[in-house]
């Protein structure tokens, strides 16, 4: 491939040299006179190159051509890519939209964009301005680009099979109403989103009606609302992502068959903030994740048949808050360490199974020596129920009075859910 490109380069240079020497006509004429598809041409853009503006080159390209953008600052916006081209930045040229409008709008299949920095895409209340927007295409790659102060970073609308990899997105708004999502997918299937770093947007990654996509190795930090937010997105896989210090953590809603593995949910603080919010999620699996330092590790509402296993919950306010509307969930083989409340629920009904978890507050014994405690563990404290009904009571946390209340309730459960009990709590931590 490299060799191929090299040859292309030589052809273009030869043509260019020939063109200037013989006829002195602009090279673009020479280049475009070749029939499309015959050879793949290379367009160089930059100071002292054939083109000084990207938009000029975009008007001349045909499918499978390459645009090489040399270092410099290009004050251009509304760049429409209508052919399947490869756009490559050399030493990271800057495309400055100057708060005028969107960056690239891609309406051709299999466009490849690599090595650019796109800046200053303006906030708009009526238009979804994006640095790079894919509109009804199939295939495409966005690799190793930087986005600085953009409204939407990457926006996919009805575009399938697009790969978004190793980009860095940074935005600076502080209010939800005037900021937009870093990576935004709408009605786009088979996407791959990997290795991106998203900072300061509204939602780090937002997916709506996205199916069969894979999201991994991303790092969403300091976003105003959610690090990851997805709705109506079935059959997606999320792994090895890190969600940190986002306004409200991660929200997954109304989706089926979601797989979340090896993710880290860290330091999401606030009244309505969650490490992971599950709303109407069914038949999904959450495993090998790390929930640490969140107000709430996982909050599950109306979620059914979700397997939560091999996770670590450490130093959260609430490790798991599960509403009685959630049914047939399996919570097994998790480690619960140093959480103020392990499990909290809003009712005496419980329709989920808690089994074989490690609870650091468990004080039972294991006479049989099989690794499981002989006395069941009740993770719901009376006090957590009181707080659930009356948040102000939280000020009595760790009070002697509350500890006495908890103790009496633990001996004679009358208010806490009777069936929410771990019959065989583990004696030592699950090694993850």
């Amino acid at each position: 491939m490299i060799k191929f490109k090299g040859i292309n380069g030589w052809i273009v240079i030869l043509l260019a040299v020939a063109g200037t020497m013989t006829t002195a006509t602009p090279p673009s004429v020479e280049a475009s006179s070749l029939s499309p598809g015959q050879t793949n041409r290379v367009f160089n853009i930059g100071e002292g190159e054939e083109y000084s503006r990207i938009s000029d080159a975009l008007e001349q390209v045909s499918d499978r051509d390459t645009i090489r953008i040399h270092p410099g600052v290009y004050r251009e916006h509304q760049l429409i890519v209508a052919q399947s081209v490869v756009i490559i930045g050399i030493d990271r040229p800057v495309i400055d939209a100057g708060h005028q409008g969107e960056g690239f709008r891609i309406v051709a299949d299999s466009v490849h964009i690599e090595g650019l920095e796109i800046r200053n895409v303006p906030t708009s209340h009526s238009r979804d301005h994006a640095a790079i927007r894919f509109d009804r295409v199939s295939g495409g790659k966005i690799i190793d680009n930087r986005f600085d102060d953009t409204f939407f970073g990457i926006y996919l609308a009805r575009s399938h099979g697009v790969e978004i990899r190793d980009n860095q997105l940074r935005a600076y708004q502080t209010r939800e109403a005037v900021s937009a999502n870093g990576i935004h997918l709408w009605n786009s299937n088979h996407a791959v989103i990997a290795g991106n770093i998203i900072n300061g947007h509204r939602d780090g990654i937002y997916l709506e009606y996205v199916e069969n996509s894979e999201i991994y190795d991303n790092h969403a930090v300091n976003n105003i609302r959610y690090g990851l937010h997805f709705m109506f997105s079935d059959d997606c896989t999320y792994h090895r992502n890190r969600f940190e210090d986002n306004g409200a953590g991660v929200a997954v809603m109304y989706s089926k068959r979601v797989m979340m593995e090896d993710n880290e949910f860290l330091q999401n603080w606030g009244a309505s903030s969650y490490g992971l919010l599950l709303k109407e999620i069914t038949d999904s699996e959450i495993k090998h994740n790390n929930f640490s330092g969140n107000t709430t590790g996982i909050r599950a509402e109306g979620s059914d048949r979700v397997k939560i296993h091999y996770n670590r919950f450490q130093r959260n306010g609430w490790a798991i808050r599960i509403t009685a509307s959630s049914m047939d969930n399996m919570i097994t083989q998790n480690n619960f360490i140093d959480n103020a409340f392990d499990v909290s629920t809003n009712s005496r009904q419980n329709n989920s199974t808690f089994e074989a978890n490690y609870w650091d507050k468990y004080s039972g014994y294991d006479l049989k020596g099989d690794g499981y405690g002989d006395v069941p563990y009740r993770p719901v404290r009376l006090f957590s129920l009181i707080v659930e009904r009356n948040p102000m009571a939280l000020m009595l946390l760790r009070s002697m009075f509350v500890q006495i209340l908890d103790l009496t309730e633990r001996i004679m459960p009358t208010i806490t859910p009777e069936t929410l009990v771990d019959e065989k709590p583990l004696m030592s931590e699950v090694s993850l």
Partner: protein, 260 residues
């Protein structure tokens, strides 16, 4: 003169060995927690429960006992040219100071030789501060009680009741209030209520250091907004000082005019 009395007092307290036991209790407990639990923040969190329960109880009982037991000694000294106010401060500091030193020493020494990160050090510092404040506050209350009631059964009984009231009953009342007025905005009244109990105040100040994530819910935000500001901190410290001042001053007045 205060210094002289203080010197004798300290020598007396040291001789009685229980202060050593008191220090060793905290030292041993912190050390064991370090050996089992590991990192400093966890140790400080566990010690918080102990501090909030043991210190008020120990200080108020020891304080009352001490004053009742040194009755003859006080009477003897008062026959000599010793000013009453000097004697009182000597007696007060003579017990409060060793208790504070025993506690802070016992807690801090394991932090030194086990080594702890900066986060753990702030936690330990806060713990030491709160514990010391509670010590002197409850010694002050004990002195007042011992000077108010000549009958030591009555005095000690009341000391126990007061201790129980602040550690358990008061919180029960708060919970009751929260339940009864659940439909009203309770943030400010509950904040105010917490100021009227030194143990609650100490607990909340410590909680804001440790269980920050749990407290960051709505209630937590209210408390953090209040105690996180300079004004809130000043009010919290002010009310702790008031808790120190009022009983000690009451005891002081009684001591000045008491007919021994």
């Amino acid at each position: 003169m205060i210094a002289k009395i203080l010197k004798y007092q300290l020598r007396d307290v040291m001789r009685s060995k229980w202060i050593i036991a008191y220090a060793l209790f905290f030292l041993g407990l912190t050390d064991i927690l370090f050996r089992f639990g590991g990192d400093g923040v966890r140790v400080a969190t566990s010690m918080m429960n102990v501090v909030l329960i043991v210190i008020p109880l120990a200080s108020i009982i020891l304080g009352a006992f001490y004053l009742y037991n040194t009755r003859e000694y006080i009477e003897m000294l008062l026959c000599h040219p010793v000013k009453r106010h000097q004697l009182f401060w000597g007696m007060f500091l003579g017990l409060g100071l060793p208790l504070v030193l025993a506690f802070t020493g016992g807690v801090m020494v394991p932090f030194i030789y086990h080594g702890a990160g900066p986060e753990a050090w702030t936690a330990a510092g806060m713990l030491a501060f709160t514990g010391s404040m509670l010590t002197v506050i409850f010694v002050g209350i004990a002195y007042y009680l011992a000077l108010r009631f000549d009958d030591r059964i009555k005095g000690l009984g009341l000391a126990l009741v007061i201790c129980l009231f602040f550690t358990v009953i008061y919180d029960g009342i708060i919970l009751l209030v929260i339940y009864m007025f659940a439909n009203y905005p309770l943030e400010k009244p509950v904040l105010a209520l917490s100021l009227f109990n030194p143990i609650d105040l100490g607990r909340i100040l410590l909680l804001l250091q440790f269980d920050i994530s749990a407290l960051m819910g709505l209630t937590g935000a209210v408390f953090r907004d209040f105690f996180g500001t300079v004004l809130g901190m000043a009010i919290a410290l002010g009310s702790l000082l008031l808790w120190l001042f009022v009983p000690v001053y009451g005891g002081f007045r009684r001591f000045l005019y008491k007919d021994f």
